[in-house]
Subunit: 305 residues, 2 copies
């Protein structure tokens, strides 16, 4: 069993590589739900949908989120009726949010919904929400406290970040499915996802970090920071706000209490000694996943640890 802690686009692309090199039934993704929020009365789970739709082969490949060839008719009409339109919801995409909301209202757990969706869309890897309770990630900014999606999408990450708050996280629990996936894994991988708002909420779940520290599995992370910059998204200002160095060394520092191996990009090879000084083995390879071949190659390096 291989269990991958996952955020959105970077994790989804990494998982595409993983299922090229091992049987997808042996793979479980534990997915961040801190980005989840309610808009138009609908329950939206950005990271779950990105991972599910990517592995289903229906993701919009240019964006890395949203469904390929989607249309925006319903959103346009929501706008006519006075609803907010800052979050781009396609007509195909909306089906996920409508059905998820309906199932949750009828008593299903988010775990059950995610499993039903990945099966309906033909995904063989397991996709596990990190918890079933709502745990919205808030970004504390100079303009006030914003939900992460408001900070990132509505306000386009222009606000200065002072801190991050995982609302309700102390009252949440990793699901039994997540605990099982961690307990039975030979290899636990932290995907190349934002350490603050993607991996951070997973690690903040009560007991989760202790499980990793005490795990007999090999724990490998892929650095989402290459040459001092995030491959995608606002990792740099968020890491800075938390006092993390915005390099692969900062990633090693953030995970050093449980991490065995950090996979870093060739351009960062010079950081190897600093990372290993933190007690984390550094493996150098090409980590930029331009296409299927690069994704598989990166997965092979990770899985060989």
């Amino acid at each position: 069993m291989i269990t991958v802690l996952a955020g959105g686009v970077g994790a989804a692309r990494f998982l595409e590589g993983v299922i090229q090199v091992v049987a997808p039934e042996q793979v479980a993704a534990v997915v961040n739900t801190g980005d989840d929020f309610t808009l138009h009365g609908l329950q939206i789970s950005p990271d779950l949908d990105i991972v599910t739709c990517t592995l289903a082969g229906i993701i919009n490949p240019a964006q890395g989120w949203g469904i390929a060839d989607d249309t925006y008719t319903c959103l346009e009409w929501l706008g006519k009726l006075g609803a907010p339109t800052w979050f781009n919801l396609g007509d195909r995409d909306l089906a996920l949010h409508i059905q998820r909301t309906a199932l949750l209202q009828s008593g299903a757990t988010l775990t059950e919904v995610a499993d039903q969706f990945r099966r309906a869309l033909g995904v063989q890897a397991r996709i596990l929400p990190m918890c079933d309770e709502p745990v919205p990630t808030h970004i504390i900014t100079d303009s006030g406290e914003l939900h992460f999606e408001e900070y990132l999408v509505r306000r386009r990450a222009v606000d200065s970040v002072r801190g991050v708050r995982f609302v309700n996280i102390a009252a949440a629990t990793p699901t039994p499915e997540v605990l099982y996936a961690l307990a039975t894994a030979e290899l636990i991988v932290l995907a190349p996802s934002n350490p603050v708002v993607s991996i951070g909420p997973i690690l903040a779940l009560p007991g989760l970090r202790a499980i990793l520290r005490e795990s007999n599995a090999t724990i490998v992370a892929v650095s989402p920071i290459v040459n001092g910059a995030a491959i995608k998204g606002p990792a740099v200002p968020l890491m800075q706000a938390l006092g993390l160095e915005t390099t692969a060394v900062g990633i090693a520092a953030a995970y050093r209490d449980f991490l065995d191996v950090l996979v870093i990009d060739t351009v960062d090879a010079a950081l190897q000694p600093q990372i290993e000084a933190l007690g984390v083995r550094a493996v150098v390879t090409d980590t930029i996943m331009r296409g299927p071949a690069e994704k598989a190659a990166l997965a092979r390096v990770v899985l060989s640890q």
Copy 2:
């Protein structure tokens, strides 16, 4: 003021004629909400939407319901996810249901939602839900008790009808806006709508029928039954189940306790004596609304009473 008691397609087409011949600001439609139901977790109000979209000029003209030039992408994807697809919801149409559900969940009344929607879509006539409480119309059939939309759309009206039940109607009340529209009307019109499941729920609201009996307004109905058949929809089996004669005479009998005038079609001219024997004046004219000219002509006859 002209107040029109309205169901769906027939009422909406009649109202199109009315606003051709009087200023729309002087017109209020009191709309049946017995067809309202929840599907995909969304609050659907078929008659309100038919009336609103018809007066907004955006209705699908061939169907009489749904929005013109709509697409069905979201519904197709809901189907992929295992959701029921028997109720045809277009992408444009879904925006109404999503936004209505969101507004109701945030505490708005159905009256407020209907008013917001008709203003957003440029409708000048007032559109008033008959009540704000859910009052689903159930059809009692040989196959069990079904919501009206399940009976009509999912099962295509194939079941034998034994009776009709207006759930929760005794606990519902006409809204203040409806009471005001009835109190200030010089003319109250019962649109050519199904007497059992469109006009019936409105008349079943506590106190409503007494208001009509005691009103000083002229009360005119347009018969939805022409030559013994409904212009559209399942009026005949529903009237039969309630023991009503399925002719314009049956319409007169259903409303005779408050009705001043029944407008009947030329083909039913021979029924005039039977209708007048019930104490209802019968006016004969062409009632089939093929286009704008016929709609306006019918409206002129009704408004001249």
